[in-house]
């Protein structure tokens, strides 16, 4: 045990002290937070005030073309482009008015206007026309119509929730999917990144010819486990640093933001110009709702606890296999590629199932995927945020138990491959031989 500990210490400290580790640990969250806030900040501050002159015969537009964000409207008669030199930044002409003899609305401006302006105007006009048509046909006044529209999108959200009958909490579904995506993607990413690091480490020991020196002092199993645990701890360290840095930086950055969160949401909505104004309004509400549920309805201790468990379990499961491949490979990286195939395919397949499992977390595919140890770290983490009504405790417990048995099995088999492979030089090893090494007696 103490020798394994010495090896773990070396594997860990030699990696943590590397410049590349420090860079990726500190730069990744800084870049990430910087990117998000940079985009939001630019969008929120770069738009200038727009004053639009509108020439339109239909009076009902007046009720809908109201000041929105940085765009204000003034209705004038017989507008023309000379207004552009009189304090207006744009002129909107209805069909067949003034110089606009087309059948569509036209915006005239001196500078080319972005999609934000025309998109907003377009949405407002469309809303006006829709409202007019509905009001005419159904014989409603504006107040009645507005209340109707206001209720419509929210009742649609209720429907989505209702289809998950009594299971997910209100509004929980979207939040849960979002968290599911993020967390399972991190697991996926870490399996590959740290699994490959284990493989490279083993290959280095073999091609460096230090393996035989080492196994004359320690058992091959101790050498392999030392490497796996050491690199796993490096990964865990990196995650913890990332979480701390990300939370810290986000707090600092959002305090430094010169704009209030509401206008940031506006800016975010404006980035999706295809959305109608009402829908944009609804999506803002939704965003607020999600933010609310993220902090209240999600069982964070459970998710973080399980994340750590599935990271460690999944990592041990796959890292052992990566170590076995690394021990069987000679100098030629091409060999590694072909031997890695059977390991990478289940990981990638898990991602495909994960996307499906998030849409239907109760499907048979999702349940099986979260039981089989090849995919359970990714898929269970995708299902878990949906709560204990979707993932009963017995499923979680069983999945964990299977994963533990799974990594014990892969470590046991890999140790046998490793023991033979690490001292074997010059021979190209096939998968068939690996299987033979893994399953032979003694």
């Amino acid at each position: 045990m103490s020798k394994t500990w010495i090896i773990i210490k070396r594997e860990y400290t030699s990696r943590v002290a590397k410049k590349s580790f420090l860079l990726s640990t500190f730069l990744t969250p800084i870049l990430f937070v910087g990117l998000i806030f940079g985009v939001v900040y630019l969008t929120a501050t770069s738009s200038s005030e727009e004053k639009v002159a509108v020439d339109n015969k239909e009076s009902y537009l007046k009720e809908y073309l109201v000041k929105k964000r940085n765009i204000s409207y003034e209705f004038v008669n017989n507008a023309d482009t000379t207004l552009l030199s009189k304090g207006y930044t744009a002129v909107l002409l209805a069909p067949n008015t003034g110089i606009n003899q087309t059948k569509s609305y036209q915006v005239y401006s001196q500078k080319s206007k972005g999609k934000e302006l025309t998109g907003t105007i377009e949405n407002q006009i469309n809303d006006a026309i829709n409202a007019k048509m509905v009001m005419d046909v159904a014989n409603l006044n504006k107040a009645q119509y507005d209340s109707l529209v206001k209720n419509a999108p929210s009742s649609k959200v209720e429907n989505t929730v209702f289809s998950e009958a009594e299971k997910a909490k209100k509004g929980n579904f979207e939040t849960a999917s979002m968290i599911g995506y993020v967390v399972s993607f991190i697991i996926y990413f870490s399996l590959f990144m740290y699994g490959a690091a284990v493989m490279r480490g083993v290959m280095e020991e073999k091609t460096n010819r230090i393996a035989e020196v080492m196994v004359s002092s320690v058992k091959p199993f101790q050498l392999m486990m030392g490497k796996i645990v050491g690199i796993g701890a490096v990964g865990l360290t990196q995650f913890i640093m990332w979480i701390v840095l990300f939370v810290g930086l986000s707090t600092i950055a959002s305090n430094l933001m010169p704009v209030d969160p509401a206008s940031m949401q506006d800016a975010a909505a404006a980035m999706q110009p295809g959305m109608s104004a009402v829908a944009a309004e609804a999506s803002q509400n939704k965003a607020a709702m999600i933010l609310n549920t993220v902090s209240t309805s999600v069982n964070w201790p459970l998710i973080i606890g399980c994340f750590i468990f599935y990271y460690i379990g999944g990592y041990l499961f796959y890292a052992a296999l990566f170590a076995a491949v690394g021990s069987a490979v000679n100098e030629d990286p091409q060999d590694a590629q072909s031997l890695m195939m059977p390991i990478t395919i289940p990981i990638i397949l898990s991602m495909v199932i994960m996307i499906n499992a998030i849409r239907q977390p109760e499907s048979a595919l999702a349940i099986w995927g979260s039981m089989i140890p090849f995919s359970s770290p990714i898929i269970m983490m995708a299902r878990l945020p949906f709560g204990s009504t979707i993932v009963p405790w017995w499923q979680l417990g069983l999945s964990m138990l299977i994963l533990i048995l799974g990594f014990i099995a892969t470590i046991w088999l890999s140790a046998k491959i490793y023991r033979t492979g690490i001292l074997l030089y010059g021979k190209k090893v096939t998968l068939k031989e690996l299987a033979k090494w893994a399953f032979r007696k003694n």
Partner: protein, 308 residues
């Protein structure tokens, strides 16, 4: 002297061939032992069993009077394999400490031993350099130090001089003698025969997994001698017509003779004295280990074939 290591009927089979086939030998404490054999003879497999890397299929290993157990005896063995490497990115001092700790030394003991050896081999200034900055000879020196610094009872060196310049080779050679003098037993595996002749007390020769020769260097040479003598004398060919010997080589100031069966040294000397020639020297020429090695290995069919 008692035996440090006793190997009895050791066997190890790999899928299709016997890498080690019924080998027995014993090793006197404090001796320098040569393990010889052509490439692929089974030397490395034999060593790996003695160092606990492989388990033998059958046979027994007694170490220090007890059955060998890798767990307990690893601290008493230092093994420098032929295929040896180091972690390139580590600092040299740290690396030596790391390997010493893996042998079971505590950090402070390891530190003391490393410092002592670095001083002895004038390597102190290397401490904070990286392994990748070392030349081949220098890393060989470091490997030697890490093999012996825990003062093992048994030291196994596989081709320890390959890549060393004569100065460093001598330095290491002196250390080997020193270690043997202070009680360590050394197994020295090589196919460089002139080094074996110089260093080893006792050798075994392994070929195709089997031991084909076992004994002290002197005894083996005696066993394989072919009655060849070198006589320092100046003569001409027509004066050498005798049934007592045949001339192998005629040099201007000496002769290489092979004596006929039953003829003694004195008969030859008498022959020359009777001719009134003055003899400057007269010695028996023993075969070199190299000749014995080639003779024995060539007599067996060529190195093992691969059988898939």
């Amino acid at each position: 002297m008692r035996n440090l290591l006793e190997v009895q009927n050791l066997e190890k089979q790999f899928s299709s061939q016997k890498a080690v086939d019924n080998i027995s030998f014993s090793l006197e404490e404090g001796s320098i032992f040569g393990l010889l054999g052509p490439n692929g003879a089974g030397k490395t497999t034999l060593i790996r069993m003695i160092t606990g890397i492989f388990y033998p299929d059958s046979g027994s290993i007694q170490f220090d009077g007890r059955p060998f157990s890798a767990e307990n005896d690893i601290i008493n063995i230092g093994y420098m394999p032929e295929e040896r490497g180091l972690y390139k990115k580590m600092k040299i001092g740290e690396h030596a400490l790391y390997l010493a700790q893996l042998k079971g030394l505590s950090r402070s003991d390891a530190m003391k031993a490393v410092k002592e050896w670095f001083e002895k081999l004038e390597m102190q200034s290397w401490w904070n350099k990286k392994v990748e900055d070392l030349s081949k000879g220098m890393s060989q020196k470091l490997q030697f130090v890490t093999t012996v610094l825990h003062r093992p009872k048994l030291i196994i060196l596989d081709e320890p001089f390959s890549g060393l310049d004569p100065v460093n080779a001598n330095l290491i050679k002196d250390e080997i003698y020193d270690l043997a003098k202070t009680g360590s037993t050394i197994i020295f595996s090589t196919h460089r025969m002139e080094q074996v002749e110089e260093i080893c007390d006792h050798i075994i020769l392994v070929n195709k997994g089997q031991k084909i020769l076992d004994g002290t260097v002197n005894n083996i040479k005696q066993e394989f001698k072919e009655n060849i003598f070198k006589v320092g004398v100046n003569t001409t060919a027509q004066n050498l017509m005798t049934p007592d010997f045949t001339v192998i080589k005629h040099n201007p100031d000496n002769l290489l003779l092979k004596l006929t069966e039953g003829v003694s040294n004195n008969d030859v000397l008498k022959f020359f004295i009777n001719q009134g020639l003055s003899i400057n020297s007269f010695n028996e020429v023993l075969p070199s280990l190299n000749q014995i090695f080639i003779k024995l290995v060539n007599d067996t069919p060529q190195a093992r074939q691969f059988t898939a």
